[in-house]
Symmetry: C2
Subunit: 877 residues, 2 copies
């Protein structure tokens, strides 16, 4: 017996979603519910996989099953496919397990040819309708099955309309449509090199194959990658009896939602057009009417429709998005699915449905995609405004949110403009520590160079400011204060807009809306807290960030990067003095200047965290990052530091590295310059002692040694820390507990975690660096080839966005196991940016970490992901 | 009961080497053999460890045991320590498990003070002898125990000699020596701030502690690191009854070997001085006489001595290095140990001893340190000539050997000078592909920049040419044709010399001697081949290298780096054309030019290898390595390529990488530009078909895909290879077998080796890159901090020289296990530079690799190491 590759709708239901795709399974389910649905059948997702296995060929047995299903369908409908007198027409639509834009569009009216069109005309006594249907079919078939540009057909259509002086499509008479059909067939022949196929079965099989092919078109592949949909799922094909919304004014078609998808309000929402076919509503040639008006125009149908909508929502226990058609006064449902919604609506619907007793809290928590929360935490563009805009360039989506403002090319100008009440977008080739103030006042930041880990990107994410980085599409001239995009010049003061979620840059102002943290958001976060067991900390380097994170519910700081403190304008001179020191004495003198500054930083952070745990990482980046690199800047710094240009230049040169990622940084700095770690420890401990005294806290600072690969590195630095801490405590006459731990980011550290755990009281996985080292490519450099990797199906995801569980995850699991074997109560966290990625949070939960740490603006996202991970784990039990 | 920390010689023997050190154990052993050895005792290596555990203090129980042993010794000798009438004097010498230069020197005549010196004078009726012994003691004690510069004492001594008009030390009369002793005590007091210690026990304990301290002095630490001696071994201290070679002409002292340590010839070899103490022989103040002259001067003693020497060599079954003293006509043996020898001697002695039936072949193979073979494979400096020279600078020892020649600063000048018969040393800031010809003719290469993986270093190692790279001590001015070192200017045509084993640069000609591959070498290599099971291949990129390697016994090529072919002057234009191509068509056109060149390369290599297996690696380095980087060179290339400067500059800029090591290279190139892999496959397969036909071989080319981290990368590239190979075979109408495999160098590849082995027919471990990625530091950048790591005891070895078995080795073991689980007959090799390092070769044998691959000049070394690994494995069974 051959496998069953084709199912009639009447033999299907919602449980068969994986096999039949969402659309097919739901059509079956609606039939089981007794709803008015045109009959049809589904070619399974397995047929799609088989199609690829067979080298992009439809196996004979699949063809046979399709033909048999057509026969069954003819019998049900009492019509014959290709019958010149009473022709049977069908629609073809793709339908994967989840809704997937980017795949093949619908083909309607399939089965029409030069003969059947006459039959249809006769049967309906409506030439206009029949030939309109035919011309639509030819165009759709040519477009979606054969890839011919629609515009080629529009030329013919518009030509006839113009010649006849017709404005509205509805006014094109039957005779003209016949001429248009002839014209369309000519276009088809010219473009494809053969006649438009007259055999309905040939039309059908070609369309089925086109759907299968569309599963792997580039848009679909990109969408799958972005949405975590495995390529092995495949798509199904739905073949459905045509019903016509375009047979007259007792006909129509529309789309609707059971609740408002923008706000979540519990009202029917949608729009419809009378005397139209499906694509007219979407194409926007005619403006559809709001669904509410149907109440008066077609009261009976509206009543039936509202009842069906209610039934569907109750049945599926979720807001539904439906398509329907009215044929000669009779309502048909053509599709139902869970409706896409804005973050605001998602929260409201989830909370409301719990209140209404429709779903449980657990279900509600699982209903909201954690990443969606980004939208309620950052400004967004008004959808209407965004729709009207076209990007002028695209960079890396370095920090989420939406920004609109006037362009400024220096931090000073940005600050000045901001004082005058202007909204500012700071545009720089790349940012440096000197730009911090300008970055602070900007709505958004745009850089021409640098990747997802560039200064601009990292700082912007910490601030929660929208940032598009490494935008190679534009040429920035900072000196002349303009940038070029697509040959257009944008000057200082011109408006632009940035989309930090997509990396799009717009050459105009686009209205934004501020984030709204509604009561639903608060309720939802409380529910998350009830369920999750994984703690959520934040990565914060300043009291401001820390306060922001606490507001979002952070339970501590998992990563306080001390280097960011040194970049600030008032500190960098002392830092530079430290770096150019030739002797330990000079270095100690410079460090002595930094000590009170660092201490004040830590005090501010401890205070902002109100007693919550704080993990401070010792200095990590290579020292050359703190120095200028071009001769002009070196010269000006040399003057400022009162040293000969050549000397400073020689120091800068000597600090240059071939591969800074693999250079003199992390604990390696503390080993060559123990006095830096000593100063930082003093600042950490002194600050804790003082804040404990002032506020009555019992702070236990956690000192984190970065980039350890060999336990002796940690032992060496730990000794420095212990000695410095002891000295402070003796001097102050106060004891304070502190922990010493390490980042696990170097592969060798993961592999030798048993030895390391003997010294380390906690591990924090630095999965950014670990990903770079495990894969052997740097995040910045990988941008050059990762697109090829996605296109050629080598990678499905960006391993810097979600943890690569196979490789990097394996290192983490090895490390967790070895670490716990040596120190069973070791505290385990993650502080790479993966800590804010939902799928990675789930992974961290699964392998037994104690907490994740992420940027303040991702704390709610991580909390929800952690709750979902726990709920899923319970469900799996 | 307390632990025994002190052993009398008479209670010791050679089996106690670990506890007593080599010197102590052998003194005991000689006593057991009935040889004339002054009695004494050994403070154990455990006492040394205890000393450090106790915070650099001698525990009371150790002091007590030393004092008890002194009492025993006094009883044996019938003298009293500190007895003013019949003083008992001892020598103090360090003695670790293995001979370790760098530790504390000897202290002789300990026990002398202002009183006992008088007793000694009286007893021997020899003022001169007594005060000469005392002045020597003061100076040695001050120098080796207290760290006072010897020269401070020499001033006093020489002052008296000059004043008295005395030439020879032996002519300084007793009265003058008394004055000198007073002067020495004054110097001591001035330098140390206290009187010279008069209490013999104080002298003794201070000396014992000084020996223990010297275990961790910087020179000792460096020596241990270089020679793989663990810090935990500790050193012992030997306290021995003094015998005096300086009591008159019936006295003397000397050092000797049972065979000639330079040639290995079976003759007594050594030198001695009459009326002298130990250090006089070494210090070179008087010229010692060859040991052979003793035959006539002291025939009786010589006879006894020769008998003892014979007995010792037979007993120890190895060439011995001894120290002896003659006191008033009686011979005393003071030390015996296995003698150090040149590589040539090591080979000869090992082979001779097998022939003489003294040792087995296995023992002979274990007797020669594999790295020693470097000396018989490369030119070396004549030892006398080297001794007289002082380095002017030090760089990285990038490629072994010794070179002397005239300095030239461009490849052209070097080639020209070579044509005129000059020996040439090429000096460049850094080398580039254009310099290849100059590098070929040079005796040695010196660069100012670049690390152990720089172009100069890699190419030189492959050529077997001596190279010192990254020599920051010199300032090179290529334009003006000179370099500066220590303020001295070296011009074109001046002689310099390079030591590729140490990195030393000398500002003069030093005579070199060519390598001599004797019959002993051949015999020895044959024995190695008998025992080893690990195959040894070579890394070779040219027919020349391949031929050289075959001469050294290589069994195949484990790594043929195709990129080196592209660097050659006649190819690089087409390569550059390929790189700057904007379209696939342009790229294919450029590749078409490269195809015949590559094919010819492979044919040449296949022919040189005479049917042995050849593994070819597809293009690996980032493309920017093939392009110039500064504006001037870009401009000249642009002209040459007939394209606008701006366009070429833009391409160069766009190819720039933040971290080239982690950039767009390896299989990533083949994924973005499949046509490169396609061309290379065609060249590999076509060449194999043609050579098979011409020579009747049955070559099975092995195509290696580099830098795979995810199996889908390999799958993608393998498809390209398979298709290209198929096309060639169809075109030629000939089938040829080939293998497709991968480097395992990315940590993730090791962790997912089961998946990868499903696609790969062989693995070759690229441990250079794997070390960089596992540790997270690049070889070039690590030079900035690795010295600190050694100094601070964080690392004991350079992980780029020997495999880090704990981390990188673990990745290899994981990979071997996973790889074999998926493909039990998978072929496993290593092609990183570790493949030529003996300890790494042993590791590779242990984890079950099939072969190692190393540069041609290290093939014999790897073979010997492989044989030793197998022999040791058998011994362990």
């Amino acid at each position: 017996m051959s496998k069953q590759y084709v199912y009639l709708f009447r033999d299907s239901d919602a449980s068969m979603r994986n096999l039949l795709g969402g659309k097919g399974a739901n059509l079956g389910e609606m039939i089981q519910l007794g709803l008015p649905v045109p009959q049809g059948f589904t070619v399974t997702t397995e047929a799609c996989l088989r199609y690829y296995e067979d080298g992009e060929k439809l196996a004979d047995e699949i063809v046979e099953q399709i033909e048999n299903a057509m026969k069954d369908l003819e019998e049900i409908e009492g019509k014959k496919f290709g019958d010149a007198d009473n022709p049977f027409l069908v629609s073809i639509r793709s339908g994967a397990r989840v809704s997937m834009p980017g795949m093949m569009d619908t083909v309607l009216n399939l089965g029409l040819n030069d003969e059947t069109v006459k039959g249809l005309a006769k049967l309906t006594s409506n030439d206009r309708f029949a030939y309109d249907s035919y011309r639509r079919f030819i165009q759709m078939f040519a477009d979606v099955v054969k890839g011919v540009d629609k515009a080629k057909f529009d030329e013919v259509y518009d030509g006839v309309k113009e010649r006849e002086g017709i404005e509205n499509d509805a006014d094109v008479p039957g005779e003209a449509l016949k001429e248009i059909v002839d014209g369309f067939k000519e276009v088809y022949k010219r473009e494809i090199g053969e006649d438009f196929p007259q055999d309905p079965t040939e039309q059908l099989l070609a369309s089925v194959q086109a759907v299968f092919m569309s599963w792997n078109n580039p848009r679909a592949v990109v969408y799958r990658r972005l949405n975590d949909i495995p390529g092995e799922w495949g798509t199904a094909v739905n073949v459905q009896t045509m019903v016509f919304g375009n047979m007259g004014d007792d006909c129509g078609t529309g789309v609707a939602f059971t609740r408002d998808p923008a706000t979540g309000e519990d009202v029917l929402y949608g729009e419809y057009l009378l005397n139209a076919q499906g694509e007219d509503v979407v194409a926007g040639i005619r403006t559809p009417d709001p669904i509410s008006t149907m109440k008066e125009v077609k009261p009976e149908i509206y009543k039936e429709f509202a009842k069906i909508m209610d039934k569907l929502e109750k049945h599926y226990r979720d807001m539904q998005d439906v398509e329907f058609t009215i044929e000669r006064g009779k309502l048909y449902m053509l599709q139902t699915r869970s409706g896409k919604r804005t973050a605001e609506a998602a929260l409201k619907i989830a909370v409301d449905m719990v209140k209404e007793g429709i779903i449980s809290k657990e279900e509600a928590l699982l209903r909201v995609e954690p990443n969606q929360l980004d939208a309620v935490l950052h400004p967004t563009f008004k959808p209407e405004a965004l729709e009207a805009a076209t990007p002028i360039a695209k960079g890396l989506p370095a920090s989420p949110g939406a920004a609109t403002g006037k362009v400024y090319f220096t931090a000073e100008a940005a600050v000045e403009a901001n004082k005058n009440g202007e909204d500012v977008v700071l545009v720089r080739v790349e940012t440096s520590p000197e730009d911090i103030e300008g970055m602070h006042v900007a709505e958004g930041i745009l850089t021409g160079r640098g990747g997802m880990t560039s200064h601009a990107a990292v700082v912007a994410r910490g601030m929660g400011t929208c940032c598009v980085a490494g935008c190679h599409d534009i040429q920035i001239n900072e000196a002349q204060k303009y940038f070029m995009a697509e040959g257009v010049r944008y000057n200082e003061g011109d408006f632009i807009s940035l989309d930090g979620n997509t990396g799009n840059v717009y050459g105009e102002a686009i209205e934004t809306q501020p984030p709204v943290l509604t009561g639903d958001f608060t309720t939802f976060m409380e529910w998350s807290d009830e369920y999750r067991t994984l703690k959520v900390r934040t990565n914060a380097d300043t009291p401001n960030d820390a306060r922001q994170a606490v507001e979002f519910g952070a339970e501590g700081i998992g990563l306080c990067r001390t280097e960011h403190m040194f970049f600030e304008e008032d500190r960098i001179p002392a830092m530079r003095e430290m770096i150019v020191s030739r002797t330990e004495e000079q270095r100690r003198a410079a460090l002595a200047k930094l000590l009170p500054i660092q201490k004040a930083d830590f005090k501010g952070i401890y205070e902002a965290m109100e007693g919550r745990p704080v993990t401070v990482r010792l200095l990590d980046p290579p020292l050359h990052e703190f120095l200028p690199h071009n001769d002009k800047d070196i010269e000006s710094l040399a003057k400022q530091m009162d040293m000969p240009f050549e000397d400073l230049k020689a120091i800068v040169d000597s600090l240059q590295e071939f591969n800074p990622m693999l250079g003199h940084r992390g604990c390696r700095l503390a080993i060559t310059y123990p006095e830096i770690a000593e100063m930082q420890t003093k600042a950490i401990i002194e600050a804790a002692i003082e804040v404990n005294e002032e506020k009555g806290y019992n702070l236990v600072p956690e000192i984190m040694v970065p980039l350890v690969g060999e336990v002796k590195e940690l032992t060496y630095v730990k000794n420095i820390i212990d000695e410095a801490a002891k000295a402070v405590m003796e001097e102050k006459g106060v004891e304070v507990n502190y922990l010493v731990g390490t980042m696990i980011e170097v592969p060798r550290a993961a592999l030798t975690s048993d030895a390391i755990a003997k010294e380390a009281e906690f591990f924090s996985f630095g999965t950014n660096d670990m990903t770079q080292m495990a894969f052997g490519f740097s995040r910045d450099d990988a941008t050059k080839f990762l697109d090829d990797y996605y296109e050629k199906d080598v990678f499905e995801h960006d391993p810097f966005e979600r943890i690569d569980q196979t490789g990097v995850g394996k290192l983490m699991e090895i490390s967790v196991e070895l670490g716990k074997s040596a120190r069973p109560d070791i505290d385990l966290g993650i502080c790479g940016e993966h800590g804010g990625d939902p799928s990675s949070v789930e992974f961290c939960h699964r392998i037994g970490l104690d907490y994740v740490s992420c940027s303040p603006f991702r704390v709610p996202i991580a909390k929800l992901a952690a709750a979902q991970a726990k709920i899923k784990e319970n469900l799996d039990k």
